[in-house]
């Protein structure tokens, strides 16, 4: 009970300690904690990457994309979605739109990497 009172007295928060700490610390620390959070839940035991730098591996051991490459995938998603949607308007839908982007950005680079690896292995 004393604990409850003490938490209540500090005005804000007391909501849950880890979240409170994330908000209080600097951005870099919050960023590292986000990584740790995702990593722990995904069950991955690898070393923590340095602040989500492009080129490193994320919590699911997927490659982080650099800005230019990411832009290309987002642009591809937009062009294909708008291009098809204009002629098949049922695609302009709150469900299909977001799924389209996620599918292109997740599956596209994975397929691209797989193709590059198999081409290299073929040589």
């Amino acid at each position: 009970m004393a604990f409850v009172k003490q938490r209540a007295d500090d005005g804000d928060h007391g909501v849950d300690a880890p979240r409170h700490r994330i908000a209080s610390f600097g951005r870099a620390d919050a960023s590292r904690r986000s990584d740790a959070l995702l990593r722990s839940d995904a069950g991955s035991a690898g070393p923590e990457p340095p602040g989500g730098t492009p080129g490193t591996i994320d919590h699911r051991r997927s490659r982080r994309l650099g800005h230019p490459e990411l832009w290309i995938w987002y642009l591809l998603a937009a062009v294909t979605y708008i291009g098809l949607g204009v002629f098949h308007k049922f695609l302009f839908n709150w469900f299909i739109g977001p799924i389209w982007l996620i599918a292109v950005v997740v599956i596209g680079p994975a397929l691209w990497d797989w193709r590059r690896r198999s081409t290299r292995a073929g040589k």
Binding site: G11, D12, V15, I22, R60, R64, V86, L101
Partner: protein, 300 residues
């Protein structure tokens, strides 16, 4: 009604949270709050056609925004009632406040079209409408005519305005913002999603509503002005005519309901928006303390 404005305002809220709430308000709460009003009411506005028979509302604007009808879904009363229900159920401050802000934004943004929303329901069932553009959802025209009218009127300007608001706060779309402000506010949900999606997928999920909004503006505008071949007043045209006049476009009859004097709508709505932000800010700390007590008592 507003189209992509509802997608963009989710990020505008994220970018303009009071300082003490930054990094602590659930993005999913804001998104769901903004999504629920139309989710509950719009399915019957356009209706569905099965084997040539149309099922849907005979007076779509009355159903969507009026009373009797589902108009109560676009009110501050519903925003408060749903928020209260979520709060009593889960005692999750991050989600409840996010939901309240998202829902309020949706209800208030819809005051722009010719039908408006019943902002003071249930005290007053009269609509608050600025009549900026024509509400064009009809049982005959369906979604396509509605889209064509919206993107031929000041509705297009409204969408572009909200896009500009988000682009002026472009940092809200960055991976860094997602990592430092969005994930900490919703740790369990993002961690759960992280079991299936890589980081680039999670960030794409966060940005997906913005992406959908932009694609909607470009896609529907392109279709309405460059691809559609409508017949208006007996003349076949190449694209729907653009008309940026008040309560335009001229080629469709603006639907309307009994409404208050338009001159009091803008100041009244801004006051209501301010009141909701002020109230959210005032109840923030007490809700935090209540959540802490609930967490300890129930061991969550």
């Amino acid at each position: 009604m507003s189209w992509a404005a509802h997608q963009f305002e989710v990020y505008a809220i994220q970018a303009h949270l009071p300082k003490k709430m930054r990094g602590k308000v659930s993005f999913f709460g804001i998104y769901l709050g903004d999504f629920v009003p139309d989710f509950l009411s719009k399915f019957w506005v356009y209706g569905i056609t099965i084997n040539g028979k149309h099922y849907g509302s005979s007076i779509p604007h009355q159903w969507h925004r009026g009373w009797p009808g589902m108009g109560f879904t676009h009110t501050l009363f519903a925003a408060i009632a749903f928020t209260l229900a979520f709060w009593l159920w889960r005692r999750n401050r991050a989600f409840a406040i996010g939901f309240l802000l998202g829902y309020t934004a949706h209800a208030l943004t819809d005051f722009n079209d010719s039908v408006g929303s019943m902002l003071l329901f249930p005290i007053l069932t009269t609509s608050w409408s600025l009549q900026t553009w024509a509400y064009a959802a009809t049982s005959d025209g369906g979604k396509y005519l509605d889209a064509a009218a919206y993107y031929s009127s000041l509705g297009l300007v409204m969408d572009l305005f909200w896009l500009a608001v988000v682009l002026c706060s472009w940092r809200v779309l960055t991976r860094e913002h997602w990592r430092t402000q969005v994930v900490p506010a919703d740790p369990k949900t993002w961690a759960w999603l992280g079991r299936w999606l890589p980081e680039r997928g999670l960030v794409a999920l966060y940005r997906a509503t913005f992406f959908y909004g932009i694609c909607r503006v470009i896609g529907w505008s392109t279709w309405a002005h460059f691809i559609a071949r409508p017949v208006i007043d007996g003349t076949r045209r190449s694209g729907y005519p653009l008309d940026l006049s008040w309560t335009g476009p001229w080629w469709i009859t603006a639907r309307s309901l009994d409404h208050v004097n338009p001159w009091i709508v803008l100041p009244g709505t801004l006051m209501m928006l301010g009141a909701v932000y002020w109230a959210a800010s005032k109840i923030w700390e007490p809700m935090g303390r209540a959540q802490a007590r609930f967490t300890i008592r129930h061991g969550r």
